[in-house]
């Protein structure tokens, strides 16, 4: 029996789990995929937004401004790099100036700090690769960047350290109130069992409160409990990553003027150094459609070349698509009166990554309002040691690491300089798949795309996870890397 059961292991679920782990509560988090952050969060751009470009009275706006502050604090505690790079919303016509001023005024009303309009001379000096036709820009210095998956993993690791039980490969199939009792029974099908035991078995979790942050599937989870006024529409975004050699293409995150549905196609700085261009915004029917298209590429190139003309198609080294879980214009965060104990956290699209920690605070308030009065834990562990990444350290520091563990000198990934020790660390922290290792360490994410390191990583996985070569997957059941081993 749990006090709180969280459905969904993306950034929202992880932030809520971490916040609730401050209290003396029995908490479980269920994730249907093989690893956390494998749904919506993995394709996030990694921008910690300042709070602009949101309607003034929206939850999005309020939580974005607060989330920006909280994220800095928590990232420090959890040893995750947060870089305040600032953003520019650029205009090219005098006619657009009133709109820019309106965005500034709306941002200020929400409490976004230090907004100012900068003119052409400032842009020339601070953003030399920007299109010289740019007339002016709204400068929001508090915008920042973070690695979205390392952020989710850090939140979840810290939550787990503070007692949250995390269940991977657990897909919710039913939610039923217990008659006469304010309890919810959540039935779960285990899509991925620990090896050599029964697969596909059903289990039931009992909980006083259930929080639905199932991302793209929040509507389906709600329907299981009889809530049918929620529809999640996937909105696809294609993104294209540029070579690290172009790290200094831009100094800020560069936005065009926003449209009513999106913030537009941007030039983004990422915490790994590779600039990124995108995303597109296209409503799709299929919640698993993460395909990229030639049209998407052309659209992104055309739009971002308008902002930064020197940008070249040849700089692209990777591409992917993600799906935003759209449930109307704003976030939906509410207690379901029809199913007491069920809290919905849905439609967490942009700026959801930024808003996560603020959403978590609101969820705590909702729990209190509906009968949960938790006590703070004296033993709460705020901190998580920073993970070691050779690529982020000066060469002079490496001998100290080699003294600690000689396998820091065993380079597994040549493009991103990742050692065997880092891969083993990632596995100890929960990586179970090639993608899980990529997200945590960057091995396979460089310009050779795993040509060099894949077999080396697979051998470490075989050893550490006691897997047969054929059992290794890219991202969970069905994505096995090889079909036969003839060793």
């Amino acid at each position: 029996m749990y006090d709180v059961l969280i459905i969904g292991g993306g950034v929202t679920g992880a932030a809520i789990a971490r916040e609730l782990s401050r209290y003396r509560l029995k908490i479980a988090l269920l994730e249907k995929e093989t690893e956390l952050a494998f749904g919506v969060s993995k394709s996030n751009s990694g921008i910690i937004h300042p709070g602009t470009q949101n309607p003034p009275d929206s939850l999005k706006g309020k939580f974005c401004v607060l989330g920006n502050l909280l994220t800095r604090e928590i990232a420090k505690e959890l040893g995750v790099d947060f870089k305040e790079v600032g953003e520019l919303i650029v205009i090219f016509n005098e006619a657009d100036r009133p709109r820019l001023q309106q965005i500034k005024a709306e941002g200020e009303r929400l409490g976004v700090p230090r907004l100012r309009i900068v003119e052409r001379a400032w842009l020339r000096e601070h953003e030399p690769n920007l299109n010289p036709d740019a007339l002016a820009a709204l400068y929001a210095p508090t915008a920042g960047i973070i690695s979205p998956y390392r952020w989710v993993y850090a939140l979840a690791e810290n939550a787990a350290r503070n007692g949250v039980k995390i269940f991977l490969g657990h897909k919710v199939t039913g939610i039923t109130p217990e008659p006469g009792n304010r309890r919810l029974n959540v039935s779960v099908s285990r899509t991925e069992e620990p090896r050599r035991s029964v697969s596909g078995s059903e289990v039931t979790f009992r909980a006083r409160f259930v929080i639905n942050c199932a991302g793209l599937y929040a509507d389906e989870v709600a329907r299981l409990a009889g809530i049918d006024d929620l529809t999640i529409k996937p909105r696809k975004g294609e993104e294209f990553l540029l070579d690290k050699k172009r790290e200094h293409l831009v100094n800020h995150i560069i936005f065009p003027l926003p449209t009513p549905t999106t913030k537009g196609i941007l030039v983004i700085k990422t915490s790994d150094g590779n600039p990124m261009i995108g995303p597109t915004a296209e409503e799709v029917a299929d919640k698993e459609d993460r395909s990229t298209s030639d049209a998407g590429l052309q659209k992104v190139l055309a739009a971002t070349r308008q902002l930064v003309p020197s940008l070249s198609e040849n700089d692209i080294i990777a591409y992917f698509a993600g799906l935003r879980p759209v449930a109307g214009k704003d976030f939906i965060i509410r207690h379901e009166a029809k199913v007491p104990g069920l809290i919905t956290v849905a439609g967490i699209q942009s700026p959801g990554l930024t808003a996560g920690p603020a959403i978590a605070l609101l969820v705590v308030e909702l729990l209190k309002k509906h009968g949960l009065w938790p006590h703070r834990k004296l033993s709460f562990q705020h901190y998580r040691p920073k993970t070691t990444h050779l690529f982020s350290l000066p060469v002079t520091h490496l001998p100290f690491l080699l003294e600690q563990d000689p396998t820091y000198g065993e380079i597994v990934c040549r493009c991103e300089m990742v050692s065997a020790r880092e891969v083993r660390d990632a596995i100890k922290r929960g990586a179970r798949t090639l993608d899980g290792i990529k997200f945590r360490t960057r091995a396979q994410a460089g310009r050779c795309h795993g040509g060099f390191c894949t077999t080396r990583i697979m051998k470490i996985m075989i050893e550490e996870l006691k897997l047969k070569p054929t059992e290794i997957t890219k991202r969970g059941p069905g994505s096995n890397v090889i079909v036969e081993s003839r060793e």
């Binding site: 050699k245 698993e288 993460r290 395909s291 990229t292 298209s293 030639d294 998407g296 590429l297 692209i316 080294i317 990777a318 591409y319 992917f320 060469v395 490496l398 001998p399 080699l402 000689p406 396998t407 820091y408 000198g409 065993e410 380079i411 040549r414 300089m417 050692s419 310009r447 050779c448 795309h449 795993g450 040509g451 060099f452 894949t454 077999t455 070569p469 997957t473 890219k474 991202r475 969970g476 059941p477 069905g478 994505s479 096995n480 890397v481 090889i482 079909v483 036969e484 081993s485 003839r486 060793e487």
Partner: protein, 292 residues
Amino acid sequence: MAAALAAYQAGVKDILLIERDQYLGGILNQCIHPGFGLHHFKTDLTGPEYADRFIKQVAAAQEIEVSLRSFVVRLTADRELTYLKPGGMVTLQPRALIMATGCRERTREMIHIAGTRPAGIFPAGLAQKMVNIEGWLPGKEIVVIGSGDIGLIMARRFTLEGARVKAVVEIQKESRGLVRNVVQCLEDFQIPLYLNHRVALIHGRDRVEKVTVENNETKETFELTCDTVLVSVGLIPENELIEQAGSPDPAKPNLPGLFVCGNSLKVYDLVDNVTRDSQKAGEAAAEYLKNA
């Protein structure tokens, strides 16, 4: 190895050979097909056999020191070199430095191929390593994108391993591989080669399920079911270290005492030519040291 041996024979007696893998020979070790050495040794050898002839010569030349599992992490303009190996980091400044770092494959990511990103998409060289070195079969129904030599050789290799190669799809009007490979690897095994076609889409959520192939001229499309896509769309010299050292054009490094040879200078079709090129670099380095 050829550069080190040539420098050695030209009188240089203080040579360090740095290799990041656990054995010498590089990519030759996974090239278990014949066709190596026809010019240099006047005999037909497999890749590992060709490498072995050099490994034995290097072992016999006692003044050539070999450091395996050694990975260079930094190179400066004045040839200060730092490398990591298990348990240690070494910094040294040789009087001359020969870069024989080879090349790497272009990837699916460098030529935008639309569609999904499931398991089952491999650079052809990675698939070759899996099959020939690890004994792992990546898939059973294969489509090869690009008719580079590695792709052609792997089409035959997969067929011999019991997999079915559905097609090789080449965007250009001619194969970009050697004629002998087109004949011996495709025609002899009745594997269709679609010239002037491209893979327009890759399908599949978890694992590759099929590809859509498009005729470049007529724009007609057809689908091929498969569980694996091999990408063989060319090779590019690997010379990030020279760039790191501050030379914008690695083909003409304007750094004194730095020599570049083999596939890291330009990509060759035949290993015999790589050897010849590398020997020249070894001799040039020896000459440079005499005059320096």
